[in-house]
Amino acid sequence: MTVPLTVEFSGGLEILFGGERTLNITLRPSDKQASSTIADLVKYLCDERMTDKRKELFVIEEYHVRPGILVLINDADWELEGEEEYVIQSGDQILFASTLHGG
């Protein structure tokens, strides 16, 4: 089952994705899976959509979102939704936001 969703980047992460702040994506689960998780989405973004080679600015240790990046699922911290294991629903809005420290 394919799942359409919106992915947004902010806090400078958009620079890693060709300057695009918003991507409209349709995820196709791999053969063994019936659905896609945030972990699948992160791998897909790294492998298929990232235009910058510096993957360490987005993930560490193969596809774990690096510390300092907020992941928001429909405007809620992903910790409230199950983090990497959250199963993406049709129409979800996923925001990856670098935390800012300037003042």
């Binding site: 600015l57 510390p67 405007d75 911290d77 925001l95 935390t99 800012l100 420290h101 300037g102 003042g103």
Partner: protein
Amino acid sequence: DHAVNAELSLTEYTRYGRQMLVRELGKRGQILLRKSSVLVVGAGGLGCPALLYLSGAGIGKLGIVDHDVVSLSNLPRQTLYSVSAIGMLKVDAAISELRRRNSEIEYVAYPFALTSDEALRVVDGYDVVLDCTDTPMSRYLLGDVTRILNIPLISASALRTEAQLLVLNRSQYASTGPGDAPCYRCVFPTPPSHVDACSDAGILGPVVGTAGLLQALEAIKIIAAAAHPELYGATPGMLLFNSMSDRPFRTIRTRRRQSSCKTCGDNPSITKRTFNEYNYTEFCHISETYPV
């Protein structure tokens, strides 16, 4: 409550009359503002507008922490400072400018960078703390100190065209305790591996200014809520502002207090007693800066 039955002077009625007409503040709220104290850590792009409006609103005592001096490159967004203040300590220049507008306020200058040696002493006794600093180290330090001392913390940050605002240690405006509210370390248990600074990545003045003003507003609300608790509900948690987005402001549901938190979890290792031994420099060791 004796304090809330105190009287205001005729000058205070004249000066603050317009804001006292707002029922969420009122006379009782105005008296609470006068008897309260706010510590603003960092007198830069966030701190300047926050101080200007906190002083304007009539907060009784304003503490200002900053070790830096004014430079020409600060002026577009650090709007308390005039050209003649270049080279002066920011705390001195800020207080002189604020006094011109409101000399009824008690201003306290802390002309040094906050480190764990004096943080507890400086922060203790303030009713609300504003984090207007610009490094992860100072953010974790203030997060821990305010959580240990049970003081609400309003943390903001900005870069390029974006800003973030976070109300910590309080879930409800009118509450006196954290309840299930997270501390800074609950929301960000691990320090970032890459960090941008305004000096490298740039910043638009009105973006950081808006975040500073919203910090002042949240401080006023937290103080005034005690006068009219029935009018106040939950604090906003987190606000993201991206001025280039077609939905520029988002209210975010943050995580709640984490039982694993080193500062406010079930087995805290960062306490009033151990706080001095914690090595913030080592914890926040940033391997490389984020190339723009």
